[in-house]
């Protein structure tokens, strides 16, 4: 029902959802939103003129009008008018281009598209080692962040509609996009280029934070993983080691150093699991471990459905504790 109401009233920002180009939360998206509204208004006018004229000529007044007028209509409507209108639109559109791709003036990130998740590395300004934190993109508000994009196997496309346009990610090539978010909040981004069976489930959370909060978060993210705090979580850590999870996943500060799958060092403090597939409750972790193949078709990770219910819960507790 809400959705139907949204369909009727799309410009109520609250309705538009967290992945909407119509609810801009960044400079780039805002400029494109304005562009769209103006183009839409113009398009409606042109549509009415064109079809109104057809209706008039065929239904209201189907008699023969002077050939002179018809020729004038053809020259003005066919060449003169569109040249001016389209030319103006083109000039406006071109003038927006450099802004959309301005070089960054703050944070720099490396994002690599994987099938089907995002490898994200934050490049600290002081030239220290990059901070790895996958499947979530956090950006400080008010700065223009630059994202260097690449991919490991197939082409993906990184898109956060609320913040700006998208950019493709190619294997063996680096593309660059820049974003200047203005409104702190949590938005949803998604892969926009078809990349295989789980393309539909390759999403992520884009979190815009106040700069100070962002710095604190980044510092925390750079630290090694917490040791498990409860007995259940310790049991979970043992299962994690026993099942060989560390062959693919890294948990910094432990023996797990795999790099095929996402880094799990701070998985417990993320806002989604499996690249935007599930929430981050204990139950979500357990479900993910047991049914990953159903949740994400053709994913590399095997489903650990041979684990018993308590084992899964222990593993979930361990992972949830990695904050």
């Amino acid at each position: 029902m809400t959705a139907l109401a949204c369909a009727a009233l799309p410009w109520l920002a609250g309705c538009a959802g967290r992945q909407s180009a119509l609810a801009p939360a960044g400079e780039d998206a805002a400029a494109l939103h304005t562009l769209f509204i103006v183009m839409l208004a113009g398009a409606v006018v042109l549509f009415v003129l064109m079809n109104g004229l057809f209706f008039y000529l065929t239904r209201i007044n189907p008699v023969a009008l002077p050939l002179r007028h018809a020729r004038l209509l053809m020259a003005v409507g066919g060449i003169l008018f569109p040249t001016i209108v389209v030319g103006t639109l083109l000039v406006w559109g071109l003038s927006l281009l450099p802004d959309q791709r301005r070089p960054g003036d703050g944070l720099r990130l490396h994002v690599t598209g994987e099938q089907w998740w995002w490898r994200v590395e934050y490049q600290p300004a002081d030239g220290g080692p990059p901070v790895v934190s996958p499947n979530e993109i956090r950006l400080p508000a008010g700065q223009r962040a630059e994202l260097a994009l690449t991919s490991s196997h197939v082409i993906h496309s990184l898109w956060i509609p609320a913040l700006g346009g998208k950019m493709d990610m190619f294997p063996g090539r680096e593309t660059v996009m820049s974003l200047r978010p203005t409104e702190p909040g949590s938005y949803r981004g998604q892969c926009a280029e078809f990349c295989g069976a789980s393309h539909a489930w390759m999403a992520f959370e884009a979190v815009v934070m106040e700069p100070a909060a962002f710095e604190a978060w980044l510092a925390a993210e750079a630290r090694d993983a917490r040791a498990p705090a409860t007995p259940e979580a310790r049991r979970g850590a043992d299962i994690f080691a026993r099942e060989g999870c560390g062959a693919c996943h890294a948990v910094r500060g432990t023996d797990a150093q795999g790099s095929l799958g996402p880094d799990l060092t701070h998985v417990g403090s993320r806002q989604s699991l499996g690249a935007g597939r599930l929430g981050t409750g204990l139950e979500d972790f357990a479900t993910w471990i047991a049914h990953v193949d159903a949740l994400k078709p053709e994913v590399e990770m095997p489903a650990y459905d041979h684990l018993s219910e308590p084992e899964r819960r222990a593993l979930a507790a361990y992972l949830k504790g990695l904050e």
Partner: protein
């Protein structure tokens, strides 16, 4: 300009010989647009991706090329307009079955194609003027 006549051997060759110039005029304007477009895209790619020449000089050179191409298209359009010959005949549409109708029609087509190509070249040259660098 030949009028109706009995069929001749090698008719195609003769007809093409008769209209060579106007056929060139019809194809030349859009072909100039295409060449200009390819030159813009190709040279900018070579400048940006391969680094063969500096982008600033490339842009300046291409703006120069644009002016030349525009002049060429304008000339073709003028010749087409003359061939259409609407002022002396008063015939805009050339729906008749005579050789001069065909001749004037080809002139009209060349004239209109030149207009479209002219607008096309101006549009394509806008980014050259408005956008800088290789970003």
């Amino acid at each position: 300009m030949s009028e109706e006549h009995a069929p001749r051997p090698e008719e195609d060759r003769r007809e093409f010989a008769e209209e060579t110039e106007s056929l060139w005029r019809v194809t030349f304007a859009p072909a100039l647009w295409a060449l200009h477009f390819l030159a813009c895209y190709g040279l900018v790619s070579l400048a940006c991706a391969r680094g063969l020449f500096p982008i600033g000089a490339t842009r300046a050179g291409l703006v120069g090329l644009t002016l030349l191409v525009l002049a060429g298209i304008a000339w073709l359009g003028w010749r087409g307009f003359r061939q259409w010959d609407v002022h002396s005949t008063g015939r805009r549409a050339n729906p008749g079955g005579h050789a001069e109708d065909r001749h004037q029609f080809l002139g009209h087509a060349a004239f209109l194609l030149a207009i479209i190509s002219f607008i096309g070249v101006i549009f394509v040259s806008l980014p050259l003027i408005m956008l800088e660098g290789c970003r």
